[in-house]
């Protein structure tokens, strides 16, 4: 009875886990032809220097729910060629979350950042980038996948230990457990960061960061297209943004693009 119950619970859990995939798969397969057509049209438009059209086509694909770093990179390129630095950096930053180690993306993003007028005043400490290097080389999905694979490997090793009854598996199991904890914790942190540590990019050429939520509030400082800011608070149609120490203020949401 006991055994049967546990088996039932596992089956239900796996069914639940797979249900969303199955649903999503159906959605995607239903739109694949349209998406592929729009994507190819976007590529053609880009190659023919019709950047407005390319932006429209790529956006059309992105609007169907495709979250892909390469697609975002292409959108960034199209905006860049179209002279829209704010949107170009926004889409590059979005792509960076999905394909952080892509050399083309790094090159183009560096190039675009070089055109931003505002000098960056606060940066993540390089030591953190070194210490948590894997989180800057892999995207969120990869981190989760690795955590799952490591987790499975760990429990398989423990299971094997039941049969082998020798201590030779103890050391590899310890290492895999450590890695599992690291990657699982990273996945949790990424999930937290995605929800609570939000960043945005200034979209128009010039934006006044104000002391209040109204248009006649004092302009504290001015930011330019492509500048990345941290979202600290949300209030109606405004975000309170942090640019650097002692440089915070309110900006209308329409003037910022969230890096999601």
């Amino acid at each position: 009875m006991k055994f049967g119950s546990i088996l039932f619970i596992i089956s239900v859990l796996l069914l639940l886990a797979n249900s969303s995939t199955t649903m999503a798969g159906k959605d995607i397969s239903g739109l694949t032809t349209q998406q592929t057509a729009a994507f190819l049209n976007g590529l053609n438009a880009y190659k023919n220097a019709a950047y407005d059209d390319a932006i429209m086509q790529f956006n059309q694909v992105a609007a169907t729910g495709v979250i892909n770093g390469k697609l975002y990179y292409n959108l960034g390129n199209a905006y860049m060629k179209n002279g829209d630095l704010g949107n170009a950096i926004l889409w590059y930053e979005r792509a960076l979350k999905r394909i952080p180690a892509d050399p083309d993306l790094k090159f183009n993003l560096d190039y675009a950042r070089g055109l931003v007028k505002d000098k960056k005043e606060s940066e993540q400490a390089p030591i953190l980038r070194v210490l948590f290097f894997w989180n800057h080389l892999l995207n969120g999905l990869n981190i989760q996948q690795i955590a799952i694979i490591l987790n499975i490997s760990f429990w398989l090793l423990l299971a094997a230990q039941l049969f082998i009854r020798k201590k030779i598996l103890k050391a590899p199991a310890s290492v895999i457990l450590l890695l599992t904890v690291i990657f699982t914790a990273t996945a949790f942190y990424n999930s937290y960061a995605a929800q609570y540590r939000r960043y945005a990019v200034v979209l128009p050429g010039e934006v006044a960061v104000r002391s209040g939520l109204t248009g006649d509030s004092t302009s504290l400082f001015v930011l330019h297209a492509g500048t990345k800011v941290k979202i600290e608070k949300e209030n109606g149609s405004h975000y309170r943004v942090f640019f650097a120490h002692s440089k915070i203020g309110w900006v209308n949401k329409t003037q910022l693009g969230l890096i999601d």
Partner: protein
């Protein structure tokens, strides 16, 4: 050291009397000539303070440091601080050192004014000075950017020692470069033989207008002219300058006024290069430095433009060469060879660029022009290089384009194949789009609940496996353990005779264990009824069950009552038990 400690103890230990603060200023001379200096000493007695010398207008003031002395007279300690300054007169006549304010602990004191008469220096030709310094410039009216020479000379007709600058030459408003090697020679002035040490600086005015080169002060020890009475024969020996009697002397140059002329307005067609002096320009093709060259399409040839001359050559910029549009141009870092001579900066700067023709044909490179300001004529002048001709042949079909690889960056090396080109960025753009269709695959992270489920599933799987193993092993163990015990007991009994005390006990153990193993149970004792029930419940026939129960009863009787005494009966019972156990375990 000991003396110092004693003095210190005296200062601290002796009762101090309230001594009055005294301030005074003393000049070592009241009459000097231009080129000489006055040493001013401001003494602060019984106190500490700062001396304000900013009100001295007629002299240039240079601080020479501070000295402190302590005196103990009649049980009272007095302390003196001497601030020493060197004053260089800025004009002739009766000059005044005004009262100087000394601030000590919030209290102000003033010194007495001092008057110093400054007269013009007598001409050097008739001079009888043993030692003196001069400073001259080669051009007191240069153009802005024109180089000229500043020469400092130190004349000495007597032996001297410890010579050194108290104030080195300073050139505000000029860029100055000292020629490292000092000149040293002899010169006769007014029938006196002088040793001359000459220091040379190359100056380039940075701005136009009236500029002043400040005086330089040189100090040295020379033999003092005082004669001592000779009390004994050794005096003449020890009065020799070799053994002392030197006096410190400070020598100052006079300030030099330089009137720098601005460059006249330029209205020419060619851009002004910023060079001032005298220059020429030369252009050549290839390593042989000829005006003509022949290459194939895709190969490279080096165009060298050399600017040579005297003046601010180091400021020469890249001359504008009109290269036909059929050429790709790769510029190299300029190479210069500039010397600092007693006449000024002199040398050449070479600008190289690799030209790579993309199309065959006969091409002409127009003369490269350079406009500079000629200081000799006081006008702008344009010089031109030669016209260059380049014959470009079509490429060989199998020729490998090694254009860039062969281009040399170094002017000194003439073996281009051994040198590598520093790759320079020739344009700025982003990399192109990605056309893989996997751009449509979603890379969204797993939903929170799915991730948790995937993490939990292996743990649950493991727990299931663990429980399953526990259950199955428990069952297996009871059966196996009892079967093993039955076999073991049977085996031991086989090695014994029926007369042995434990023979029937072993048979009993073997039979009970075999019966219990059929039910997967553990134990050591069974009644006949229990044995029968177990076997029937375990699926054995009533016949077998009855037979096994009877056998168990027989073994138990033999075990406790000892009714079987002979070996044969005992072995028969063993055979029956063995046969029953085999049957039970087999099933």
């Amino acid at each position: 050291m000991r003396r110092f400690i004693i003095v210190l103890l005296l200062i601290v230990g002796l009762p101090h009397r309230a001594l009055a603060l005294e301030v005074k200023a003393v000049a070592d001379r009241n009459h000097i000539t231009t080129g000489e200096t006055v040493q001013l000493t401001v003494t602060i007695k019984n106190g500490e303070g700062n001396v304000d010398v900013t009100h001295i207008r007629d002299f240039k003031v240079t601080s020479q440091g501070t000295q402190t002395s302590v005196r103990i007279v009649n049980n009272s300690v007095s302390r003196e601080i001497n601030h020493t300054y060197t004053l260089i007169p800025l004009k002739t006549g009766r000059l005044t050192i005004p009262p100087l304010t000394v601030t000590t602990g919030g209290k102000r004191s003033r010194t007495q004014p001092i008057t110093v008469r400054v007269t013009k220096t007598a001409p050097r030709t008739n001079s009888t000075s043993d030692i003196f310094v001069t400073a001259t410039v080669s051009n007191a009216n240069p153009y802005q950017g024109e180089q000229f020479v500043y020469t400092f000379k130190f004349f000495s007709a007597v032996r001297f020692q410890n010579a050194g600058f108290h104030k080195e030459p300073e050139f505000p408003g000029f860029t100055a470069k000292k020629i490292e090697k000092n000149r040293s020679y002899r010169k006769v002035i007014g029938k006196r033989n002088y040793n001359v040490i000459e220091l040379t600086y190359i100056l380039i005015p940075l701005k136009s207008g009236d500029l002043t080169i400040e005086p330089s002060i040189l100090g040295c020890d020379i033999p003092s002219g005082k004669r001592q009475r000779r009390n004994n024969p050794f005096d003449s020996f020890f009065n020799d300058p070799f053994f002392g009697n030197y006096a410190r002397k400070q020598l100052s140059t006079t300030p030099i006024a330089v009137k720098v002329k601005p460059l006249p307005g330029y209205g020419g067609d060619q851009p002004f290069s910023g060079l001032v002096g005298h220059y020429s320009i030369h252009a050549a093709l290839g390593d042989r430095k000829t005006a003509q060259a022949q290459i194939k399409t895709g190969n490279s040839v080096t165009l060298s433009i050399t600017v040579t001359g005297t003046g601010n050559i180091m400021d020469a910029g890249d001359p504008l060469a009109h290269i036909p549009s059929e050429f790709k141009v790769y510029k190299d870092t300029p190479d210069d060879k500039i010397e600092l001579t007693p006449q000024g900066f002199k040398g050449q700067k070479v600008f190289r660029q690799a030209l790579v023709p993309t199309k065959a044909g006969h091409y002409t490179i127009e003369p490269v022009q350079l406009t500079y300001f000629d200081v000799e004529t006081g006008a702008y002048r344009t010089v031109s290089s030669e016209t260059l001709a380049l014959d470009v042949q079509p490429p060989d079909p199998d020729e490998v384009d090694e254009t860039i690889h062969k281009f040399t960056t170094s002017a000194q090396t003439e073996s281009p194949a051994l040198n590598k080109l520093k790759v320079k960025r020739t344009g700025h753009d982003i990399l192109t789009v990605k056309d893989d269709l996997d751009s449509l695959k979603s890379q969204s992270p797993l939903a929170w609940h799915r991730f948790m489920i995937y993490l939990a599933a292996p743990l649950l799987g493991y727990l299931i496996l663990l429980m399953t193993l526990k259950i199955t092993r428990k069952q297996d163990n009871a059966y196996q353990r009892m079967a093993r015990r039955a076999e073991q007991a049977l085996k031991t009994a086989q090695q014994q005779s029926a007369a042995d005390e434990s023979f029937f006990t072993l048979l009993y153990t073997a039979l009970v264990s075999a019966i219990l193993s059929t039910a997967g149970k553990q134990g050591t004792l069974l009644t006949y009824t229990e044995a029968r029930d177990i076997l029937i419940t375990g699926g054995h026939s009533d016949k077998i069950a009855d037979k096994a129960a009877a056998l168990l009863k027989q073994v138990e009787s033999a075990r406790y009552s000892g009714i079987i005494k002979d070996e044969a009966s005992g072995q028969n019972l063993f055979t029956d038990v063995k046969s029953m156990i085999r049957r039970l375990l087999r099933q």
